[in-house]
Amino acid sequence: MTRRYWGFVVVFCGLLVTTRPALAHHSLNSEFQMGKPTELKGILAKVEWDNPHVFWYLDVKDASGNAARWSVEGLPPSYLHRSGVSRTDMLALVGKEVTIHGRLAKDGSKLMFGLDFVLPDGRVIPVGPKAGDDNP
């Protein structure tokens, strides 16, 4: 890994450290690899619109074509509602292919923190805290 990349990791972790209040009750850095941007592409199987955090479940196929179910954690329902992302919007995506950008769990489990959805038509739905917002 280059020094430039580490620099990016440092600043990006810093940005997300400052957004931790949004998560209300736990630390992102203690659970997710915040310095490693990643994406999952698959079929949205289920939405748990629940406290303290929304969860999406995504069926992702590996290179061999075998599907595995991933959990994608999001912000609290109230936070998403107030920013225009509703449960109804999300339930409408169940069964459809989506790409979710986020950060994988540190413990190696099939868990990711979701930052945005990209729909097949190119529309992007932000679902993560705004970077750099120190008191969202």
Partner: protein, 292 residues
Amino acid sequence: MNHRYLLGYLIAATMITGVGSTRASAQADKDQGTKKYAPPSLPKDHSKPAPRTADGHPDLSGMWIEKYGALGTDPAVGKPEGSGARSRPATYPSDELPYQAWAALKARQLRDAENTDPLLHCEPYGVPRIWGGPHPARLVQLPGELIVLYERDTAFRIIPTDGRPHNPDADPSWMGNSVAKWDGDALVIDTIDLTDKSWLGSGKNAGEGSGTFHSDALHVTERIRRPDFDHLTVEITDDDPTVFTHPWVYAWNMSLVPKEDMYEDVTCSNEKDYEHELPDKPAATDKSAAVN
């Protein structure tokens, strides 16, 4: 210009206009899409005075929020490695509190342990951590009492304002034993008997606990003012001589959001994070602890 050139010009102009309108339309769609995910703006007009109740005090009643949460897309997508990189030192939010040296060290160690936050153990926010952030609070000012309904933690307080003293037999609790009285246009809430199991939160960032423990000697004073129609000012003094060198004072403004809905906020309804929490930082040492 002959007809052939004119026709070519018209076709080209039509194509350019068409592309332009398509681009404009696409941009409008994009803007609309972006707008959909933007929080509403908050009032900034200071011209209208705060209403008053029949007894002449400012009426604090209303739905108030410090700040709406804002959504953003993944900032790493489409960016070259290292773009805009700047170093940012790691900090302990608890260092901003006037902890005694031993307490500053303990607060750092609690944060390093990562899974020590009472919220992760399905415990309440408590006073004063319950305040602030992206969750509104609804204040209902009645003769002789103030009712505060917090969206955060789906919690409430009923605070006597009729001049009665603290209940001498109150048990330690998360919300404490509160009474309030008016000091000019400020309602001053005095709270004792708080359980030492709660954390203070990092100033107004209630969700960021960061090891901000306190003792059962904590005495919280909340001064609430309504300087104009659209704003509420909340100033909190946390006085805990067992862990602090001097009282810790912080304040912030809240804006009136009369049309806002209040959502249920239950910390442990579907809690799944605890099992994934992994401490990754070395424990703070005596040398690294800040002395305030």
